[in-house]
Amino acid sequence: MNSRYAITAEALTKQFGDFTAVDAISFEVNKGEIFGFLGANGAGKTTAMRMLCGLSMPSSGKATVAGFDVYKENEQIKRNIGYMSQKFSLYDDLTVRENMRFYGGIYGKSNAFIKEKTAFILDHLHLQEEADTLVRSLPLGWKQKLAFSVAVFHEPEIVFLDEPTGGVDPVTRREFWNMIYVAAAAGTTIFVTTHYMDEAEYCNRVSIMVDGRIEAMDSPAMLKQQYGAASMDEVFLQLARKAKRIDS
């Protein structure tokens, strides 16, 4: 992959019967960028994300992720991305160490790599004491931070974060974003969805989906200027209120 882009999409479309969930979206995400992927419920974010993760075949259009084609090379895509969501991240009935061993194994990493990386993460998160604790009994804040570390365990080029901070307390939410910043500074591309509009401000660029289309895409500063808004919350409301689809 010689491009400066981690993700490219050109008229990417997904239809379910006569319903167009994602309607010809086109965008690029730069390598090392923190890209916020916003939209109201039902706007098509999850469907778009599933296509980019190689989990759902597009109806038409083109897209590459980490240089791989979403139609033909979806297995390579899965190997080169990380994924974390609020709903699914770690196995509750495995210990901290076992979760890392499991994910490292799934991604085909060597024992030496897994051992070294596990030690690094435990040290980094100050979790040495909890290495053999079941994930179930960790506080939620720790779980989310561990989940992010596990999502980037195999050192993927891109990590997809689907509402990673939902329900998390405001202090942990900020610690979590600190981890995102550090990963991005080290060159990992971050593709993130959130319902917290203050978090949109932490992104280099954001796109806002309305009814399957990308209605706006720019840096938070430029979007606020363009829409004459004081905050990203206002920008979002102006755009999302245009939605015609029934999901309210």
């Binding site: 419920n41 039902g42 307390d169 405001p170 900020r174 910043y181 509009m197 919350d233 979002f236 999302a240």
Partner: protein
Amino acid sequence: MPAVSINHIIKTYGTKKQKVTALDDISFNVEKGELFGIIGPDGAGKTSLFRILTTLLLADSGTATVDGFDVVKDFASIRNRVGYMPGRFSLYQDLTVEENLEFFATIFKTSIEKNYELIKDIYVQIEPFKNRRAGKLSGGMKQKLALSCALIHSPTVLFLDEPTTGVDAVSRKEFWEMLRGLKAKGITILVSTPYMDEAGLCDRVALLQKGKILSINTPSGVVGEFKQPLMAVKSANMLPLLRELQQLDIVTDAYPFGEYHHAVMKNEEAAEELKKRINDTTNKDLVIKRTEANIEDCFISLMKNV
């Protein structure tokens, strides 16, 4: 008589060896007709409290009344007069919209017609889909149906457990407008949420964290308790700027806050001095201004001082 009265409620889970305290000696009252918010992250104890008040869970110790009835002795009376919308969608997925509503009306020995006025504003929005199975509804429509079902027996107190979690900003605003409408009809509403920005929409709020109440007040009262000067700071170089702020001895705490970082200053002199202490050559486009704390600033400060 308050609509809800909670006295020294303690609830723990787990074994002696691994005990988790979900609610740690909680006491407060909610007045009749109040829109009362319980604000806290996951694991704060919000659901445990709601389940105790709706008689679905027994506390280890302490007492509580709803509408004057004891949650243990008078559980049957309470069940007849409260509405409860759990955090997880709990209607019958294989019944239609109308069937679900009829089912709940029948259970409470009433009818849709009898209480239609109360749910009208909400139900008309999903009535066009009344023959659709509940499992096939979108998130926003499910939420409206669940609220209609919780209201169909005309409850005096309504318990809504995280009705807006995972819901986008537009639908959240609409939902809160519906709640204001219900409040105007005289219903007491207890609503829990992890979104700090929703606190401002309540009459009073309790900030809950790890089973303890951090603060209980009107939204403006909570903010008024924040005594230290607060500065909003931004530059073209946000991450190094944050580290710089965090290392200053005149700053108690600094954290990202949307477009700006917020710096909690030691005192007034510190606030005056901040401009001089930040390097404006490495920080291009530096902006430093005084700002007002909001609920989230208060929550962060209270969490760190526990």
